[in-house]
Symmetry: C2
Subunit: 889 residues, 2 copies
């Protein structure tokens, strides 16, 4: 190529590129380059770099300097390779023009085919192919695509004109149109073109090319491309490459054809060529699904020689790329052309099977195999899901908040849910929103559906913790709690009617829909086994109940990182005792109520310790503000107001008023930052003294029975070392006393949650008093950002992510620069004080793969997540090791 040394190289011939230039040439460009280099039959072409696209935008949507010159120069080479001339009426070169970004972005821009046709080359094409109809059809397709894609003319206008012509000719399908009629269609299309662009359809092939390249660059920033990138977390500043490639035609009779094929089955992962073949057709016909395709094996029948050749290329490409390939090919009059190769998308099931198989075949190492399965693919396999074969139509759609599908009878209040649940009925709890007083109903339900809220609503958080399928924010659903029914898009569902929800995609169905149950395959176990051998991070689970702890252990959890004691307080038979305890006028009265709670708490802990025999269990002492256990303030206010008017002398008014006063006293301006966590322990030490007694009694009782209980007592919301010192000073004597009473010794630790910026900033002091740290990243994110999650997620975080003010929702993926920096300070300085400090994370981020990566980098000892996410976390922890390029082997 003749450009001077000072000029940027904007254009690569296929033969100049390689798979290593993917950043510059895009996925498609790198793929054809690689195949060209491997000597496979690729129609010659050129690729304009992504850098050119970036420069195009930097220059205010202008071709960068030298680009066009390089394109025309490269085109000359392509002409030579193809043995045809661009615009040469005698032997015309036709090209396709396609976008090709680094990451596949399906549907970003449609392809323009047959570019280079005009009145003159049309005649040449007719002559060369000896097929007038074919040539005319190619021309009308080109005008249509160019008009629609390059000039933005509505596609339907062309379709209408075409169907008009068919009606006029009295035929039903395109192929029935005769050349004369097609010529009229061509004229009609040109007329349409002129009407909308106020200029004639360009005759000059170079002018056509220039406009098409410009259109591809522009397509990078269409709304749908931007939306796709946001969903897939693809950066906006990559730009797209443009591929200009010699046309080959699969629609030149029965000796021609086109197809797409995968080197292995992308649904099941089976090792077999898998794909579609269409005789006498162009690639776009396969994609559009206009005609019924036959399986790739069809090719074997029709043309065994070409099939064998294709099979050979497929095998080579898979070996070359060491991954399953997604291939496009065309056969023009018996000659096979390879048009594209790229790594194949696949289902979770296939991903696991392929990764394990390829390791067996020696294609990839165990580390690579582990890195090949995306955590979210693995997650698909862990939950029941609605059978896509069932083809059920949803009656509504919400935010998928906790994965999995569930079927049951709709109920509209937690008490009914619990009652029916006890009777053995499967129920789905339907609410406008949920709050802590619904928890007993949520436990009893198979799934939860709310008409409001987002992924961080109470319903979503609790459901994920329990592994209950959950759909929230289904706002087409109009819930009438009083009438116990909801209506959605015309369907009315009453209490007792059966519904199905799919928490993986947010769909809501009326009636029972067939679901597929998850079953861990042998391959899955093998893969997770490898992950376990590779990862350095331990994976623990958050579990409040023995059944959750059992599930966690079954899924491979190596400890319980967070057992919240307050959910235990919420269960139906306990709540009145808890309320009496809170409303007590004196410490003595409070202690009386606490005595009633002691045996209940102890038995909870015994269950969890038993399930986790030999493994650590981190138990967090009471954390939420006390008013969360009391009736709602506003409801009480309305009740009191009503009573005051209707029945001012009723004794009930007095009672309600008294309760109202107490709730008002406890209520706070900002409960998130108020009297909770260790602050409660400091003001009401009797509550946590009871809890520590219950923990230690449970541990000692079990020890006597041969169960190895390892309690780690976690004091939440510490911001100053003195808080921890004060609370430990209250609680350590209780722990010692219980052991003395029981006559056994138990291994136990005292530690704290790091969930306040000040705790991280003064970790070196706090580590003097804490044997372990556990990052409570939900609250740490709230305080570090100054975001109240309850308020922020609904009101502005969505907007922030949309407008790219935040790269992602920091409650889903840990914020590296802010929260992550605080964590780094805490880990480093905490360990300086106490080298054997145990450090983990129990915030919801503990189950998020990107966050797990950060935890690995920070040197945490473990991540703790929902029992149902443990396998995902095991995989992600191993991938973090692979990513840093240093495995444990």
């Amino acid at each position: 190529m003749g450009q001077t040394a000072t000029q940027t190289k904007w254009v690569y011939l296929f033969k100049e590129g390689s798979k290593d230039l993917r950043d510059l040439l895009g996925g498609k460009g790198a793929g054809v380059a690689e195949m060209t280099r491997a000597g496979m039959p690729v129609p010659p072409g050129l690729t304009i770099t992504t850098e050119a696209c970036r420069q195009y935008y930097a220059d205010g949507r202008k071709f960068p300097k030298g680009l066009w010159e390089q394109v025309t120069e490269a085109l000359k080479e392509v002409e030579q390779q193809a043995g045809k001339g661009f615009g040469d009426a005698a032997n015309p070169l036709l090209v396709s023009v396609r976008s090709g970004a680094k990451f596949s972005m399906p549907g970003m821009m449609d392809t323009v085919l047959n570019l280079g046709l005009n009145q003159a080359t049309l005649t040449g094409l007719q002559r060369l192919t000896g097929d007038e109809r074919f040539a005319l059809d190619a021309y009308r397709r080109f005008i249509q695509m160019f008009g629609k894609i390059v000039k933005g003319i509505e596609g339907e206008l062309f379709e209408d004109a075409l169907s008009g012509a068919k009606k006029l000719a009295g035929v039903k399908t395109d192929p029935e149109l005769k050349p004369k009629e097609l010529r009229e269609v061509v004229e009609a299309f040109k007329g349409l073109y002129k009407k909308h662009t106020h200029e004639a359809f360009p005759e000059d092939p170079l002018e056509q090319l220039r406009a098409a390249i410009n259109a591809v660059f522009s397509s990078w920033n269409t709304e749908r491309a931007v939306a796709y990138r946001r969903a897939e977390k693809i950066p906006d500043d990559l730009g797209t490459a443009v591929n200009v490639q010699t046309m080959v035609f699969g629609n030149m009779g029965d000796g021609s054809g086109t197809g797409v094929a995968f080197t292995r089955n992308p649904i099941t992962g089976a090792k077999e060529l898998y794909g579609d073949y269409l005789r006498n057709a162009q690639g776009e016909d396969v994609v559009a699904g206009i005609r019924d395709t036959e399986p790739i094996s069809g090719l074997k029948k029709h043309n065994p020689e070409v099939y064998r050749q294709f099979q050979d290329y497929a095998e080579k490409l898979e070996k070359h790329y060491r991954d399953v390939q997604d291939l496009e090919f065309t056969i023009e009059r018996g000659k096979l052309y390879m048009l594209q190769t790229r790594n194949a998308k696949r289902t979770g099931e296939a991903a696991v099977r392929i990764a394990v198989a390829m390791e067996g075949e020696g294609l990839v190492s165990r580390e690579e195999a582990v890195a090949r399965v995306e955590p979210r693919q693995l997650e698909q396999l862990l939950h029941p899901r609605v059978d896509p074969q069932a083809n059920a139509k949803p009656i509504g759609k919400g935010v998928p908040a906790s994965p999995g599908a569930a079927t049951g009878q709709a109920v509209f209040d937690p008490d009914t849910a619990e009652e029916w649940g006890k009777e053995g009925k499967a129920v789905i709890l339907v609410r406008v929103e949920t709050n802590p007083s619904d928890v007993h109903g949520m436990i009893a339900a198979k799934g939860i559906l709310t008409s409001t809220g987002g992924t961080a609503s109470h319903a979503a958080l609790v459901a994920r913790g329990m592994g209950r399928p959950c759909v929230v924010g289904a706002n087409q659903i109009d819930v009438d709690l009083r009438e116990r029914k909801f209506s959605s898009n015309g369907t009315v569902v009453k209490q007792g009617d059966t519904i199905t929800i799919d928490g993986t995609n947010g769909a809501v169905y009326s009636g029972q829909v067939k679901t597929i149950e998850p079953k861990p395959s042998a391959d899955q176990k093998t893969l997770l086994g490898w992950a376990d051998a590779i990862r350095r991070l331990q994976v623990w689970a958050n579990a409040d109940y023995p059944r959750d702890a059992e599930k966690a252990r079954e899924n491979g959890a190596q400890g319980i990182g967070l057992c919240r004691t307050e959910h235990m307080f919420m269960e139906e038979e306990r709540l009145p005792i808890v309320q009496a305890m809170i409303l007590a006028d004196s410490t003595k009265e409070r202690e009386k109520q606490l005595e009633k709670l002691l045996p209940v708490q102890r038995s909870d802990f015994e269950g969890i310790f038993k399930a986790m025999h030999g493994l650590p269990v981190v138990i967090r002492l009471i954390d939420p503000p006390l008013h969360e256990f009391l009736p709602n303030f506003e409801a009480l206010l309305v009740e009191a107001t009503e009573l005051r008017i209707k029945n001012p002398k009723s004794p009930k008014l007095k009672k309600v008023q008294r309760l109202l006063d107490r709730v008002e006293q406890l209520r706070e301006a900002n409960p998130m930052l108020g009297l909770r966590g260790c602050r409660l322990s400091i003001l009401f030490p009797e509550i946590t003294r009871m809890q520590v007694r219950a923990i230690m009694e449970a541990a000692c009782n079990l020890k006597k029975k041969g169960v190895d209980a390892r309690p780690e007592i976690m004091i939440p919301l510490v911001g100053h070392v003195n808080e921890l010192r004060f609370v430990k000073h209250e609680l350590e004597p209780v722990a010692r006393q219980v052991q003395k009473e029981k006559g056994v010794e138990v291994e136990y630790k005292f530690g704290t949650m790091i969930e306040i910026p000040r705790a991280a900033l003064t970790a070196s002091e706090i580590a003097r008093e804490a044997q372990f740290f556990s990052f409570g990243t939900n609250d740490l994110t709230q305080t570090t950002f100054g975001f109240s999650r309850d308020d922020a997620e609904g009101k502005f975080i969505g907007r922030y992510v949309e407008q790219k003010i935040l790269p992602q929702n920091p409650f889903e993926t840990l914020d590296r620069n802010g929260v992550g920096r605080l964590m780094a300070i805490a880990v480093d300085e905490g360990r300086q004080t106490r080298p054997d400090l145990e450090v983990g994370i129990c915030g919801e981020h503990g189950g998020d793969p990107d966050s797990i990566q950060l935890c690995h980098e920070l040197g945490l000892d473990y991540v703790s997540c929902s029992p149902y996410r443990v396998p995902v976390a095991r995989l992600a922890a191993a991938q973090a090791v692979v990513a840093e390029g240093s495995t444990t082997k």
Copy 2:
């Protein structure tokens, strides 16, 4: 002294000590040592070190090893110097035993005098003095003091026995008791002693001494000593020294006497010996105020020679210590003894006058003079205060929330306050608590009194900002808003009755009480001038109104560090427009209301810019959550409920319900962490666009009139650089557009508040977009600690400080380790990105001397505080320079 080298030196003879050993010998011990070294007549004695006291506690309240041996050995030296023997019946040495901590702690422990008396030495004393009555009286006093102070016997028991003896003898005063009767008193006292201690009064002087030393050590941790230290911020682990000193007697006839004197007048600062003298008396009589003293000049009349000698010593000591001395002396039969010298406590007025005078006399440098005046002493001089001479009795007492005294008619709602204020009446606004909708009434009032709340309540914050005297949390006051009255300790105050409040000490008086107006003295101006020359930190002020800005400038402010725009929204005539703006259904409707606000805001800004001609004015764009401008949710809920029952068809119900729905929509779980600050600007850019237009129009208009306006536009609550980038992108075009419209250019800056931990942690990124940082340490403290100030101060911070979980209230004094660390990160990393970054603080800490010290250390450019605290901040900023030992000179 004979102790071996390996033993700690617990005991110093007076002649061995010096003023440099104050840590070890305490203030008193160092003082007598210094006077001894200077050759002044000090009765010989010894000092047991503070280290011995610390060791005493470390050993579980036991005398450290070797202490007693060293005491007895030193005592031998004292005997030699005094020429008397301890327990020597022929020539008895009597001693006083006193505590002496590093910092004076009045009332920590009373002195034990005359120790060493017993039956045998009593006889010796009688013989030596030839005064049987004197000796017996000394003995009875000793038994009484020893019994009370060392053994904890109730003092009244002794007093009762003594008055019984007087009644029996038929006399009225002690001196009238005859020796025989005194002997009976001694016996009675010994009986009392035995009854309460179950042992005989100790005859052995060494045993007496040992017990007395033990009692002094113990006195370090009495409740009242601990409470005093907490109030004065004296560390608990210093320990006290013990002084054992030869007794001299001022009560040996008219040639004897005793007194206390200051080398300058501690009330006015005048250069004159000032003090009290009492003939024929012991020191305790002066302190106890039993007998009327004469001024020190009395001594001159009675004994000019001794007076001259004393004057000479006083002068020498003042020069020696280079500070005003507080002296104790005794004259025994014509011989002057110096008993104590220490730096004198003084009033604010005296402190200023003395500091300036001493600089003039060449005694101290300007830096020292500046360091000599405590900021809180200066503050006394800046506010009117209740005249202590008036001897008024308060009817109630609350928390002093904003200093100064104010008299006015009580009113109970803000509208009346405003109305009466406009009529020229002085009013005091009395409320249970205040909220933003009271602000117009607070502006109109001379003072504010609330029955609830703490130093961080809304009333306190706003009042301090405005410099209005304010008393909050006066909980004996029972406010009846409906009846417009309050009652307090039996006094009923109705609307219109005159009351006086003193925000400096929290007192509430019925009626008018005489107050003293502040007048800056020439000395004060001189001292502050020196401070200005020394300090590196600039002092700016927080001012929301032109009148505050004027006051600030008058007090020496070099800029406005925080002008909050939302208070402007709260004023009566504007609130309805603001509410309409918030309740607007569309952006268009909102913009219509904003147009009405534009001229009002512009004129506010014009006023402030005019006042601050040539100086920077930092204006914060709208910050609080919008619901703060709307009616209270609960009140609306009650109203709607009432209407629903009483008049369900009324159109008013519809209106109220609509408003209720909107308020509910805006209401947040944690408003502190919700939709406020720059988040508002991002969701409703039209509001801040209007504000920036108002700012720039004001600045441009003034520029044309020759006023140099320097707006600095502050975007609050930024946590991520993209927020700032987004908002600036909205606002910068407005700023440019206004200048273009007006045809003038104005110097302006865009910057941000650092009040979210993440902002500090990512300061290097944020500084790319911000020309200035201003630490909003109120919110930064809230988020760093996870404390909601509204909730925490009332509910647990008090308890935390009491129980020493926190060393101080972090909302009053900056927390060094947490918040301070974040500030250090922000300053250092922000300046790395932008070396000329302007950094200040506008949180309330900006007026707190300890926090100013930290700001100086961190290298801030300025502190900004209430206009009324500017002089205090100027002084504190200079003291920070002096403290680091490097002045600008």
